[in-house]
């Protein structure tokens, strides 16, 4: 990593007191050149305090808005503070902070707008439950078709975004920016996307945020959002200062 880009690591955290401190510390150790922002998504526990103690900047949402809105709050911060790159890292310790450099590099050196970490581009021993894997395959296939570019993993939350992508997220308030549909919106707007293989660990503690009902509704939500996005006009990339 050689560059003087200002990088912000955005960690959305909802009731992650048992993990978030460790994650923040690891990020700061492995990537001392970044600023770490934890977005506390209305946690009932001491997530914000643990993050502050670990040395992160903390933005505290007044109530739970969901993972994606928490990430976007981080992007609003990055946009207003003029960061060049925002990197999303999960608070549960599943992502490997050592790979932050690899995720930032294509943005800095090759001019990509979004770099998506993929668990399936290379086999690195991450096991996914059967049904979830089917779903992810389907979303990835649909997204690839729409974008005309091979995408293997649309739901992984380990990604980096350049200035143009940050501005898109920060200034368009559309609930459809989540996951793969977000990729479709950004790709259609003309942003360049790259996938790189990443390693994803098993969760260190606590429970995954994906409930059974959500897992059932998700595919319908995805397809509906995708259709809605395709029916709308392409978004223009906002420029200039926030």
């Amino acid at each position: 990593m050689t560059s003087d880009s200002r990088i912000l690591v955005v960690i959305p955290a909802y009731n992650e007191v048992s993990n978030v401190g460790r994650v923040v510390e690891e990020v700061r150790r492995e990537a001392p050149y970044v600023d770490v922002l934890v977005v506390d998504d209305g946690s009932a526990d001491a997530t914000a305090d643990a993050s502050l103690r670990a040395g992160a900047i903390v933005v505290k949402l007044p109530f739970n808005l969901g993972m994606f809105e928490a990430v976007r709050t981080g992007f609003v911060y990055a946009d207003r503070k003029g960061y060049d790159i925002a990197i999303q890292v999960d608070a549960d310790g599943q992502h490997v902070p050592r790979e932050i450099g690899a995720l930032a590099d294509p943005v800095i050196k090759e001019g990509f707008d979004i770099v998506v970490g993929s668990r399936y581009l290379e086999s690195r021993g991450y096991r996914t439950p059967f049904f979830r894997k089917c779903g992810i395959r389907l979303f990835a296939w649909l997204t690839s078709q729409v974008l005309g570019q091979r995408i293997t993993d649309t739901t992984c939350g380990f990604r980096s975004y350049g200035r143009r992508a940050i501005r898109m997220f920060a200034r368009y308030d559309s609930a459809e920016f989540r996951d793969s549909v977000g990729l479709v919106i950004l790709g259609r707007a003309g942003l360049r996307i790259k996938e790189i293989p990443v390693t994803v660990r098993e969760r260190a503690g606590g429970r995954s945020t994906i409930s059974t009902i959500k897992a059932f509704v998700y595919p319908f939500d995805f397809v509906l959002s995708l259709v809605a996005v395709l029916a709308r006009k392409r978004l223009a990339i906002p420029g200039g200062e926030a």
Binding site: V39, V58, F63, E69, Y77, K81, D173
Partner: protein, 145 residues
């Protein structure tokens, strides 16, 4: 058929509903704009019940055999229209609420940053009297960022 008995009942119901709506507006439980939708719906239903010719012609127009099904149809249509309107409002509100929540969070973080910068500035001016101007400039610059 709409018997006089049914007609009386419908009129009484309409009057009760109108009174409830007006009373809610009076107690500021319902905004005038929303009350208008309800009053309009009640007025239309009452008109259908009282003006038998209109009801019968609409009934034959839509191909229903019984005028009462026309009444039901309109009742349900009004309810659906109001529900759709409310869903639309709820969507708007949730977007606005989300934006507000984010802005509040951003303001909080900016506030604490300004406070930090100010307390640092105060410490610096207390600690080292010489070079005071320089330090102050640096701190305000940081506060601005």
């Amino acid at each position: 058929m709409i018997t006089p008995r049914v007609e009386r009942f419908a009129i009484v119901m309409s009057i009760v509903l109108v009174l409830i709506v007006l009373d809610m507006v009076r107690r500021r439980k319902l905004r005038e704009r929303y009350s208008l939708i309800w009053l309009f719906a009640v007025a239309a239903m009452t008109m259908l019940v009282v003006w038998e010719k209109l009801l019968l012609s609409i009934t034959s127009l839509i191909g229903a055999t019984d005028p009462s099904s026309t009444l039901f149809l309109f009742g349900i249509l009004f309810a659906l229209a109001i529900l759709l309107h409310l869903s639309n409002k709820v969507s708007d509100f949730s977007t606005q609420l989300r934006i507000l929540a984010k802005e509040v969070a951003m303001l909080n973080v900016q506030l604490s940053e300004v406070r930090c910068a100010r307390s640092r500035r105060e410490e610096e001016t207390r600690d080292e009297e010489p070079g005071l101007e320089l330090d102050r400039n640096k701190a305000t610059e940081e506060g601005r960022r």
